[in-house]
């Protein structure tokens, strides 16, 4: 069981002007699952490479349980990485793939067989020892890859978008499986993804990454409902920001003109009646999405995106409507 401290990491790749990681610090509790959410190029994968030792940081430190691992050889760090593809060794069967880590560390054949069996039960695929990786579906391959990573009893499990190459249904299924196995074994985990829903569903805490820096770090529900900064709010799917410049609603919602208020798209109401904190707008788009209707309404030359949960009225293109920003859902960002 491991606590992980990442302290002021800096990394710039040669021939690249911009650093990939800037003074990056992050503490992870024992047994915690942290999701790193960010667009490509935000430094997520680089961080994983630094932790595993594939790359070396320019400065800063990475500590497991308080002691630095930077001087330890990559193969002795106990940080196991799982990629987007399974990278199961094609020349080995499932048993030898899962047992690979134990074998190179010198475990006996008996131990390996027992452990492989235990892991196969854990991932819910008992009895497939003799199969080759090509005979497995994508989801099964990722399960086996997870078993291969966990069988060595790693201090830290690093998941680099392990689900992004899978179909939605398999993906949901595997999200739960990974989450349950991670909880059961209590292994400290960093989960890299660019999928907001996945990050929220999987993690104890989420770190939002942009240009090599953490812009927000909190529990998913806190980040979702009340992101503190404008950048974090945009990450979390908020697209409507109210201030004196854009929308006059400010006069009713708040007193100071310097403040910016945000509201989640599902909290905005599109209606016919005027009320407090509402503004006149024209519907520019209305899409039926099943669980909700997605509106785009032009208000004072600004497009406001709203999601009205069903059942909701459908207003056609060009209709004049009132866009209502309920006061209790407005929150301040900076």
């Amino acid at each position: 069981m491991t606590t992980v401290n990442i302290i002021s990491l800096n990394k710039t790749y040669p021939n690249q002007p911009v650093p990939v990681l800037k003074d990056f610090s992050l503490s992870i509790n024992d047994g915690e699952m942290i999701a790193l959410l960010g667009p490509s190029g935000s430094g997520k994968s680089t961080l994983l490479k630094l932790i595993t030792g594939i790359e070396r940081p320019d400065s800063g430190d990475i500590q497991f349980d308080g002691s630095s691992i930077l001087s330890i050889d990559p193969n002795k760090r106990g940080a196991v990485l799982m990629f987007q593809q399974s990278y199961l060794f094609p020349f080995l069967n499932v048993e030898d793939n899962i047992g690979f880590g134990l074998k190179v560390q010198g475990a006996s054949a008996e131990t390996i067989r027992g452990e492989v069996k235990r892991m196969l039960n854990l991932i819910g695929l008992p009895g497939i020892e003799r199969r080759k990786s090509g005979q497995l579906s994508g989801g099964e391959q990722q399960r086996v890859a997870l078993a291969r990573a966990l069988v060595t009893n790693p201090k830290l499990l690093l998941l680099d978008e392990p689900l992004s190459s899978l179909d939605t249904s398999v993906r949901m299924n595997l999200q739960e499986a990974i989450r349950n196995i991670q909880r059961e074994l209590g292994v400290t985990t960093i989960f890299v993804t660019h999928d907001l829903g996945e990050a929220m569903a999987m993690s104890d805490r989420m770190a939002l990454l942009l240009n090599g820096e953490i812009v927000a770090l909190d529990k998913p529900e806190n980040l979702f409902h009340r992101p503190r900064s404008l950048t974090a709010a945009k990450f979390m799917g908020v697209s409507t920001f109210l201030s004196g410049d854009q929308l006059t609603v400010k006069n009713e919602a708040c007193s100071s003109s310097e403040k910016i208020f945000a509201i989640r798209p599902e909290h905005i109401r599109i209606q016919k009646e005027a009320c407090k904190n509402s503004m006149l707008g024209v519907v520019s788009d209305c899409v039926f999405r099943g669980e909700y209707i997605e509106y785009q309404v032009d208000v004072n030359d600004v497009t406001v995106r709203a999601r009205m949960p069903m059942p909701a009225p459908m207003f056609p293109h060009g209709e004049q409507v009132r866009v209502n920003f309920p006061q209790e859902h407005l929150f301040e960002v900076n």
Binding site: N75, F83, Y87
Partner: protein
């Protein structure tokens, strides 16, 4: 129609490949076969057995095989790192590096051989097996490097990173992952190196200086001597190892192929 064309093309190809061998066999197992006769009249195995039991033939074959094996191993060892960098990395001067690596195929072996001969005479490598092996490596390298680098271009280093994270040491990764993934190309590269070395005449003659006798050397001297039966027998012996090597690798590659096909 298409199939008939394919079959007839195949037949022509086989004929071109096999006819000379049949001719050699006819010469090797007959005596006194002269012009107007369409087929040999007298069949005999005496010349063939004599050539085979000749200690010079046997030792030249053994020496040739030994040299070819050494050349294959050394050529692979030299080619692997170079091929890896050429196949996996982008760097300034990569094209220039390609040019340099391919120079042996462009420059006439005679030019290399003459220069090497003088150098090897000075450092005492002329007339030794070591010298001949080193000389043979020159023409084999472009082939081994090219074969392996195209395999490395398709190779995904994440397999190695995966093994590293699972606790494998660099040597374990090399032996248990990299070499295993590269096996088919390694077989092909070895084959190239072996065959090029085995059939090398000029460099063996120049560097070996008459002290290192391989089958091609023997064959050339027999060819200038003029006994058709001996020439034919030596020629048959000369093509035997390559044919066996190719048959063996074709089989092991097709097995490997099936393994790979199973995976996808």
């Amino acid at each position: 129609m298409k199939r008939i064309t394919a079959y007839s093309l195949r037949a022509v190809l086989y004929f071109i490949l096999i006819a000379p061998l049949l001719l050699f066999a006819a010469y090797a197992f007959s005596t006194r076969w002269f012009f107007p006769q369409p087929f040999p009249v007298e069949w005999t195995t005496i010349t063939f057995l004599r050539a085979i039991n000749d200690s010079r033939t046997l030792s030249s074959m053994a020496q040739g095989i030994w040299i070819a094996i050494l050349v294959s191993v050394l050529s692979l060892m030299l080619a692997l790192p170079a091929a890896r960098v050429q196949g996996l990395r982008e760097f300034r001067g990569r094209q220039l590096a390609w040019l340099l690596l391919f120079l042996p195929t462009i420059i006439p072996p005679l030019a290399i051989g003459m220069g090497l001969n003088i150098l090897f005479l000075r450092i005492g490598l002329a007339g030794t097996i070591a010298g001949v092996v080193l000389a043979h490596i020159i023409p084999t390298l472009p082939y081994t490097i090219f074969t392996l680098s195209s395999a490395f271009a398709r190779f995904d280093e994440n397999y190695e990173f995966q093994a590293l994270a699972l606790g494998a040491s660099p040597w374990q990764i090399f032996l248990k992952v990299t070499l295993r993934m590269m096996t088919p190309s390694l077989v092909v590269a070895t084959l190239f190196a072996f065959l090029i070395s085995w059939s090398q005449y000029l460099l063996t003659l120049l560097i070996g200086g008459g002290q290192i006798i391989t089958l091609p050397i023997l064959l050339f001297s027999a060819a200038s001597g003029g006994n058709p039966s001996t020439i034919a027998t030596l020629s048959l012996l000369f093509v035997a190892p390559p044919v066996m090597v190719i048959a063996f690798t074709a089989r092991s590659l097709s097995q490997h192929d099936n393994e790979i096909r199973e995976q996808y």
